[in-house]
């Protein structure tokens, strides 16, 4: 009864959908699994692939004997690199960051040489997945070892061993952004030479694994000369273009479908070797094929993220006015360049100045080849690295100057009145207020009380010390203005497409080119359309992820979906209304100019009681019995939105950290953050994105690290060793928002997908250091394992490398990381 009354009471002014904490309409099917994941696909006559992978990091392939595998029960075919060499082409790299960037080419399957552990060397095709997997161990491949290149700082030395011996060095490119040369800032060398204070640090961004929940999976169905590919991908549209170019299958003969996809974090922003292999093999055999990776394959061979060494210098005067910033990076490409491998550090180049008014800035980056799996996009992609570097060095500068870290930031950040503000990196920050976000975050944390407790613990020499870490960040989101991407040599644009179909019964289909993989597009887009068209939220269905249904799109990454894709939806809705207006005027026998549209209804101004709902118009135009001359009988519409600028979410993240000096164990006592992500369409989704982002950013600070041993084996080959935290390991999050609408898009949204991940890592590390700096600790390498923290406190240094001999994958049971790799050892039974 209450609900009915409420509805009646608010009928005059229906509640706006934008701003409502709607539960996500897609969640029931996603959470229960009652949906189509790629691996659920079963097609008549479908064959299964298993990949034989290199157990060595760098070697020449001297012989490949797959005769036993071919004879194994259930096996239909076995393909080696030689079998596919002529047709496999090279996996694409869409981001040549410099004109002379060296790209060695990236075969989907190795032909004569392997360059990282896990690289494909043969593919088994069998009638069942189990039969294919059994035959993997029968493939007999001989390798002649080559020297393994793992350490970037060694790899760039003259005379270093080479990953690709047909290249002159291990350096793929040298990318420079110099504000002085670009005219966006002063001369950096001059700024440093005249500075009172220069602080220099070397930070290590460890290698991370995206660790999406659903492993990668591909199904390809050939039908005549047409091919349909289902893939657990973030980028069905980009994948279609790229796969067509690589395989020579004409684009119009290739349909790509991303059904419901279980996460990506950038890890599925890729054209994977196995996607190409499935196409090639389906074409060869004329039969549908499926490949689904094991978790071991996923950790070992899906692209990794981060892995940079950062040399950062900051110059300032004694009063704390910053004068210049200099950044030199070594960025680990891994063995090959994948889709945007070289672009990740280059994208970060523009974010190192952060929220500060640096007068001078120079950035240089070397992309370096090593015998490891390639790196590529991972949540934040370049911006977390930049934010970490600037927020860490600001703390170091504060220590050097004897200033409060917050005061130093205040002194140098862009004031609210200065927006829009063009930074030394040439970006025009759109809107925001760093002071108000900071004030709110300080209150959420209970900053003053915690500082007082910190003082007490220090004075009493408590074994558990307390620290507070600050991260005041911004990021560039809403990727991206197409012209800007062009100027950065990126291979595609950054626009997004949407169309709206008004069905005869008044229901609405929204087709989006921004393909979700867990973000909640269906809910948020429904809210946008419900408000624009004045139709019930429940009457909107969002279609996505199928290039035959959603023919134009650039998919989901870089916090772009709502900002760019949502804007396209809003623009398309505007066009629907404009078309419907002509028909309403005709049917109401009124002038278009006299019509007003509100709550889904056209009415004649000053004539109460008249009116025609847009859903009624949808039926009328379906019948098409009575509509104006000279227009087409449809109110469907489509729109493409290309932003003119990035959007710039910002926020202040504060972490209070307890450090047990006896054991080195760190524990987050309290975490508070206030993010400005512009207009909030769905507060529940925003909160969820912030929580998930915080978990991933905290994970980089405290838990996650992909470790290779001296031979190039991935030691952290299972989730026992690659530690992804769960809710049990994370604190309560105190979150808040300020709202400064983004001026660059009709929604006013700035993007939230990466904020938590970008901002949190430096807050956490700064907090730990703040807790133990008085004990002589100046840096601790990420992740802050208890051992590293303990060593830094008691032995000095940054905690050092971790022991990589063996692994404790099964408790104390030492294992080699041979999972999924065909070696004698992998088929051993023994007492394990």
């Amino acid at each position: 009864m209450t609900a009915v009354e409420d509805r009646a009471g608010t009928a005059a002014a229906p509640e706006k959908e934008i701003g409502r904490a709607r539960r996500r309409k897609e969640d029931a099917r996603l959470i229960t699994g009652r949906t189509t994941w790629t691996d659920n696909m079963v097609l008549p006559g479908m064959l299964h692939l298993a990949v034989v992978r290199s157990p060595v990091a760098h070697a020449r392939i001297t012989s490949v004997d797959v005769s036993a595998a071919r004879e194994a029960p259930g096996v239909v075919a076995v393909f080696t690199g030689k079998d596919l060499a002529e047709e496999q082409g090279s996996l694409p790299c869409a981001w040549p960051v410099t004109p002379d960037m060296v790209n060695p080419g990236h075969p989907s399957i190795a032909v004569d040489q392997v360059n990282h552990v896990g690289e494909a060397v043969a593919v088994i095709v069998a009638r069942s997945k189990a039969a294919a997997q059994d035959a993997v161990e029968l493939a007999d491949i001989d390798y002649e070892p080559l020297p393994v290149v793992l350490d970037m700082e060694q790899a760039v030395q003259d005379g270093a061993d080479l990953v690709h011996d047909h290249l002159e060095s291990n350096t793929s490119y040298h990318f420079v952004f110099d504000a002085g040369e670009m005219g966006t800032g002063g001369d950096t060398e001059q700024a440093f030479s005249g500075a009172d204070v220069v602080v220099s640090r070397r930070f290590v961004q460890q290698r991370l694994i995206p660790a999406f929940m659903e492993p990668r999976s591909v199904v390809v169905q050939p039908q005549g000369d047409n091919y349909t590919m289902w893939s657990a991908t973030q980028i069905p549209h980009i994948l279609r273009v790229m796969a067509a170019m690589v395989t020579g299958i004409p684009e119009h003969k290739l349909r790509v479908i991303a059904p419901d996809v279980g996460g990506g974090f950038g890890g599925k922003l890729q054209v994977n070797p196995e996607e190409i292999l499935c196409l090639l093999i389906a074409r060869r055999l004329g039969k549908p094929v499926k490949w689904t990776e094991t978790r071991s394959e996923s950790l070992m061979t899906a692209h990794h993220g981060r892995d940079q060494v950062q040399f950062v210098d900051v110059a300032a005067d004694r009063e704390g006015n910053i004068k210049g910033l200099r950044v030199r990076l070594l960025a680990d490409m891994g063995a090959y360049l994948r889709l945007i491998t070289p672009g990740v550090p280059a994208l970060g180049a523009f974010m190192y100045p952060g929220i500060y008014k640096f007068p001078a800035y120079r950035f240089e980056c070397d992309g370096v080849f090593t015998n490891k799996v390639p790196t590529d996009a991972y949540r934040g992609a370049g911006r977390p690295e930049a934010t970490f570097a600037i927020e860490r060095i600001m703390d170091e500068l504060a220590v050097e100057l004897g200033m409060d870290p917050l005061e130093l930031r205040r002194k140098n950040w862009i004031d609210a009145a200065e927006f829009p503000f063009t930074t030394v990196a040439g970006l025009a920050y759109d809107s925001g207020d760093y002071e108000s976000a900071t004030q709110q975050a300080l209150e959420l944390l209970g900053y003053d009380e915690l500082r007082e407790e910190q003082r007490r613990r220090r004075e009493s020499g408590d074994p558990v010390q307390l620290g507070i870490g600050i991260s005041t960040f911004t990021e560039m989101c809403g990727l991206a203005p197409s012209r800007v991407l062009g100027s950065l040599a990126f291979g595609a644009g950054g626009w997004e497409h949407a169309s709206i179909r008004m069905l005869p019964t008044g229901k609405v289909e929204v087709v989006t080119g921004s393909t979700p993989h867990g973000q909640g597009h269906e809910t948020a887009w429904s809210q946008l359309v419900a408000d624009s068209l004045g139709v019930p939220f429940e009457d909107v269905e969002v279609l996505h992820g199928d290039t035959a249904i959603s023919s134009r799109g650039l998919d989901t990454y870089g916090s772009r979906s709502l900002v760019v894709g949502g804007s396209a939806v809003v623009k398309a809705a505007d066009k629907v209304i404009a078309k419907a207006r002509k028909i309403a005027a005709h049917l109401l026998e009124a002038s278009e100019d006299d019509l007003e549209f509100e709550g889904g209804k056209f009415s004649v101004r000053g004539t109460p009681g008249t009116g025609l709902g847009i859903q009624e118009i949808a039926l009328a135009i379906f019948a098409a019995h009575d509509y104006p001359e000279g227009i087409e009988p449809s109110i469907d519409a489509e729109a493409t939105f290309d932003p003119e600028n990035f959007s710039f979410p910002h926020g202040t993240h504060l972490c209070a950290m307890e450090v047990d000096t006896d054991t080195g164990f760190v524990k987050i006592r309290k975490y508070a953050c206030v993010d400005d992500v512009g207009t909030i369409v769905n507060p529940l989704i925003v909160e969820g994105q912030v929580h998930g982002g915080l978990a991933q950013g905290i994970a980089q600070a405290l838990y996650e690290e992909a470790v290779y041993d001296a031979d190039g084996n991935l030691t952290t080959g299972t989730f026992v060793d690659y530690l992804v935290p769960s809710a049990a390991d994370l604190p309560h999050f105190d979150t808040g928002n300020t709202v400064h609408a983004a001026p660059g898009n009709p929604i006013g949204a700035k993007g939230v997908g990466e904020a938590g991940c970008i901002a949190s890592t430096p807050a956490v590390v700064n907090a730990a250091l703040d807790a133990v700096r008085h004990l002589g600790v100046t840096d601790i390498r990420m992740p802050l394992t208890p051992e590293r923290v303990w060593r830094a406190i008691h032995q000095g240094g940054d905690g050092g490398d971790r022991a990589t001999a063996g692994s404790n994958a099964y408790g104390g049971a030492q294992t080699e990381t041979t999972a999924g790799v065909a070696t004698d050892a992998s088929s051993l039974g023994g007492d394990r």
Binding site: S726, N808, G812, T815
Partner: protein
């Protein structure tokens, strides 16, 4: 993540199980809960010829009172151990340690006996069994025998349960006097194996520590008793200083391994700190 082919037997009695093991060929693995066996089989780190699944064997589950001891069936799941009133009364250390094992899903399937026979040095239950002087009842072709904990853990992943044998139950002696206990586990995330852990049981009498028993997890290829600490604590004053001094000896005689989470010297340091904490908590300090 598909295991290599294997034969599968699902006996319903202990006799049938022994026969299935005897008939199973060269490499037989007993499936008690699958907490460790299933992952290593799926990763093909183990490829047994036959798996003998104890899931349907009668009489191996549950806890009973047997006068001066409680008897825990080998196939009692971790979650049943945590909820059992006899264990809560007589050996709460077992319940506390079991509560730190892996996650809920694993504790629902993993078994007490399975974890002990697997004898992973990073597993939590072996050190507890050792500290409580548990006795292991083993049946085999030669009949039934009882092995004390001090002789049960032979080496890395190796126990007194020989080929063709089966652990059927574990007897935990009831302790007399005022005992209190603590399992102090150190790991990085909630579901992880122990980097180091310490099981402590302490009997206090007249303001002094009359007796202490301390088991160490992951400080060598087998669980260890910290005998030097136990001796130093016997009769010591129940003060923070006395406990700390005694626990400085916790790493003596240990040979911990080095891995991603900890190198050996750090493990030895942790053993001292965690022993002090476990004993202090158990002693009510």
């Amino acid at each position: 993540m598909i295991p290599a082919p294997f034969a599968y037997a699902r006996p319903t009695t202990v006799e049938e199980a022994l026969q299935a093991i005897a008939d199973g060929g060269e490499d037989v693995k007993v499936l008690a809960g699958g907490q460790s066996l299933i992952p290593v089989m799926r990763l093909r780190l183990a490829a047994p010829e036959t798996v003998v699944d104890l899931g349907k064997v009668e009489g191996l589950r549950g806890v009973r009172d047997d006068g001066d001891a409680i008897v825990i069936g080998a196939m009692t799941t971790h979650s049943d151990v945590m909820a059992d009133p006899l264990i809560a009364e007589h050996a709460p250390l077992i319940a506390e340690a079991t509560g730190t094992v892996a996650d809920r899903q694993v504790r629902h399937r993993g078994t007490f006996g399975g974890a002990l026979v697997h004898a992973d040095p990073a597993g939590d239950l072996p050190a507890v069994a050792l500290a409580l002087d548990a006795e292991f009842v083993i049946v085999g072709p030669g009949g039934r025998r009882t092995v004390p904990a001090s002789e049960f853990f032979v080496d890395y992943l190796t126990t007194a349960v020989g080929e063709g044998d089966l652990l059927v139950e574990v007897r935990v002696p009831k302790l007399s006097g005022e005992w209190s206990m603590r399992y102090e586990k150190f790991n990085r995330v909630a579901q992880a194996w122990s980097i180091v852990a310490v099981a402590a049981a302490v009997r206090r009498e007249n303001g002094r520590i009359a007796e202490a028993r301390i088991g160490l997890t992951n400080m060598g290829p087998t669980p260890l008793r910290a005998r030097q600490v136990e001796e130093a604590l016997a009769g010591a004053e129940a003060t923070a200083e006395a406990v700390a001094a005694a626990c400085e000896r916790a790493a003596e005689g240990t040979e911990p391994s080095s891995d991603l989470n900890a190198q050996a010297d750090y493990r030895q340091h942790l053993a001292k700190v965690l022993t002090r904490r476990a004993v202090s908590t158990a002693a009510g300090l």
